[in-house]
Symmetry: C2
Subunit: 281 residues, 2 copies
C-alpha cells in the first residue's frame, strides 16, 4: 500500500525542499526553445525538463491545459511525463482543476488516482464550484491511493475574489467555509495528522487572513516568481504552517531553458532558496 | 466564417427540437452494453451512438470525464466522436467544466475553439470559480470561432448551493452576479441578439428565481430524466425564454441501448416531446 501523500511530501521536502516545478509548455515557450508548437515539440520539452528535474526538485506540476491543446498526442506525452517523474521518485501534482457531480467525479477519479489510472498522479487539483460535498468520490479514491486532493480555495488572481469572498448564510466566506469543511473531513479521516485533502491558497497577502492550521492539510501555493509572489510572501502567508506549504513556480524556472545546465542551475538555486526560507529548524 | 452558435442552434432546434443527447459512457454502461470497460469498448460506444444520433437529435454533449478515464486512447475517441458529429451537421457541446487564469485559459481555448483545435466543439462548459473576469481568452476565442461558452452558474445538484447562493458585497448571489456579468458582456458583443456566452442552469425549481432573460444568452439545462427534472420542470424554469434553453438528457436515453432501433426510438420520442413542449408557436 502506498504511503499517504503527506508522508511522502515530508520525505522529498527534507531532501530537496518544498519547491514545486510547474511544467507549463506554452506555445510561446515551445517556440522560444526552438522545439516548435507541435506534439513533437511537446515531447522534446517533456524529455528535457524531466531529465533536468531528476535530482533537482522533489515535486513537479504539469498544467494539463498545455498538454490538452495538442489533443490525444499531448495526453500521451502527459502520461509519459507523469510516469517518468514518478519512476524517478518525484511527486507529481497534476493541475487539472476538474470538478463535477457524483458519477462524473467518479470517472475523473478513475483517470487520476490509483495504479490503474492512465494519468496517475500523486496529487490533483480540483475546483469546488459544484460544492465540496459533491466530492465524495474524489476524496475516497484519493485516500485509497495515498494521493492528495487539492481543492482550489483562494486563487492567486484578483478576479477570483468576487466568488471566493462571497458570504454564505452563516457569515463565512466561500474560502473560509471550504477550509473549515476540509479541516473537518481531514480530522475524521486522519485524526492524528495531515489529511488527504489539501487546498490551493494564493501566496500573496490577501485580507482577511485564513485559519490555515485548522484545515489540517497541505497547501499548494501557486504563482511564485513571474506571477508575482516572492519567497518572503510565501513565508508571511504560511507562517503558521511553513512545513505544509508547496510553493510552485513555472515561468521563472523555464525562462532559463532550453540549455540544460542553465535550467538545472536556476531550478537548484530556487529549490535551495525555498528550502532554506521555509525550514523550521 | 462560421455562423454564431445561437443562429446554428435556432436552425437545429427548428428541425429536431432543443434536446441535447448527453453521451456519457460510464464504466457500468460499457459493461452493460457488452462492450467492456476499455478503450476499444469506448470506440464501439462512440460508433454506435453517433450512428443513432444522426437524423434523430440536433445536439450531442459528450462528458469529457468518461473519455479521459481511458487516457490518450479515450481522447482519441473523443476527437473522432466530435468530428463525426460535426461532419453530420450536429452541434457538439463538450462538457469539460474547465476554468483557470490568463494564459492557461488561452491554452484551453486552443484545445476547444476554432478549426485548428484538436477537440473542436461548437460549445464548451466552463466553471467560474477563478472569476468570470478571468475568462477573457475563452470569450474571445469562442466568439471568433462562432462557438458558445457555457458558464456553470446554477448547477443541478443540491451541494452546489453553498457556493452558488453565497452573496457578494453588493448583496447579489454568486449566480445572480454571474448572469448579470454574462448579460452585460453579451450586450456589448451582440447588441441586437443572443451573445456567445451562455450559462448552465439547473432545470429544477430552485429559489430564488433568476432573471434569465437579462443574460441575453442560451442556457444548458442538464440533468433531465434520470437525474430528476421533467419536461414540465424545464418549461416552468425557463418559461421566460423557452427558445433559449437546451435541455440535456443522458442516462434516460442510453438505458435503451445497445439495440440501435430501441435507442433511436427512445431518442426520437424524447426529442419530439421536448420539441413540442418548448415550442413557442
Amino acid at each position: 500500500m502506498t504511503e499517504p501523500f503527506a508522508a511522502r511530501f515530508a520525505a522529498v521536502r527534507d531532501r530537496y525542499g518544498p519547491l514545486v516545478w510547474g511544467l507549463d509548455p506554452s506555445a510561446a515557450l515551445l517556440e522560444t526553445w526552438g522545439f516548435g508548437d507541435t506534439a513533437d515539440g511537446l515531447d522534446r520539452f517533456a524529455d528535457l525538463v524531466i531529465d533536468v528535474a531528476i535530482g533537482t526538485v522533489g515535486l513537479v506540476k504539469p498544467q494539463s491545459a498545455f498538454y490538452e491543446r495538442h489533443g490525444w498526442r499531448g495526453i500521451q506525452t502527459l502520461q509519459r511525463l507523469l510516469r517518468s517523474a514518478r519512476a524517478a521518485g518525484m511527486l507529481t501534482i497534476l493541475d487539472v482543476k476538474r470538478g463535477d457531480i457524483g458519477t462524473t467525479n467518479e470517472a475523473y477519479a478513475d483517470a487520476f488516482f490509483g495504479a490503474d489510472a492512465p494519468l496517475e498522479a500523486d496529487a490533483v487539483t480540483v475546483h469546488p464550484y459544484l460544492g465540496f460535498d459533491a466530492m465524495h468520490a474524489f476524496v475516497r479514491h484519493a485516500r485509497e491511493a495515498g494521493s492528495c486532493l487539492l481543492v482550489v480555495a483562494r486563487s492567486s488572481n484578483p478576479e477570483g475574489r468576487s466568488i471566493q469572498s462571497a458570504r454564505g448564510e452563516d457569515g463565512r466566506t466561500v474560502e473560509e467555509a471550504l477550509l473549515r469543511s476540509i479541516g473537518e473531513l481531514n480530522a475524521a479521516l486522519v485524526p492524528d495528522g495531515i489529511g488527504p485533502i489539501g487546498a490551493v491558497i494564493a501566496p500573496h497577502n490577501i485580507e482577511p487572513t485564513l485559519d490555515l492550521l485548522a484545515a489540517r492539510s497541505l497547501f499548494l501555493a501557486p504563482g511564485v516568481g513571474t506571477q508575482g509572489a516572492s519567497c518572503a510572501d510565501v513565508v508571511r502567508t504560511f507562517a503558521a504552517c511553513l512545513d505544509r506549504v508547496m510553493p510552485s513556480a513555472s515561468r521563472s524556472l523555464l525562462s532559463s531553458g532550453p540549455d540544460k545546465n542553465a535550467l538545472r542551475d536556476t531550478a537548484t538555486k530556487w529549490a535551495s532558496e525555498f528550502k532554506q526560507a521555509l525550514s523550521i529548524a
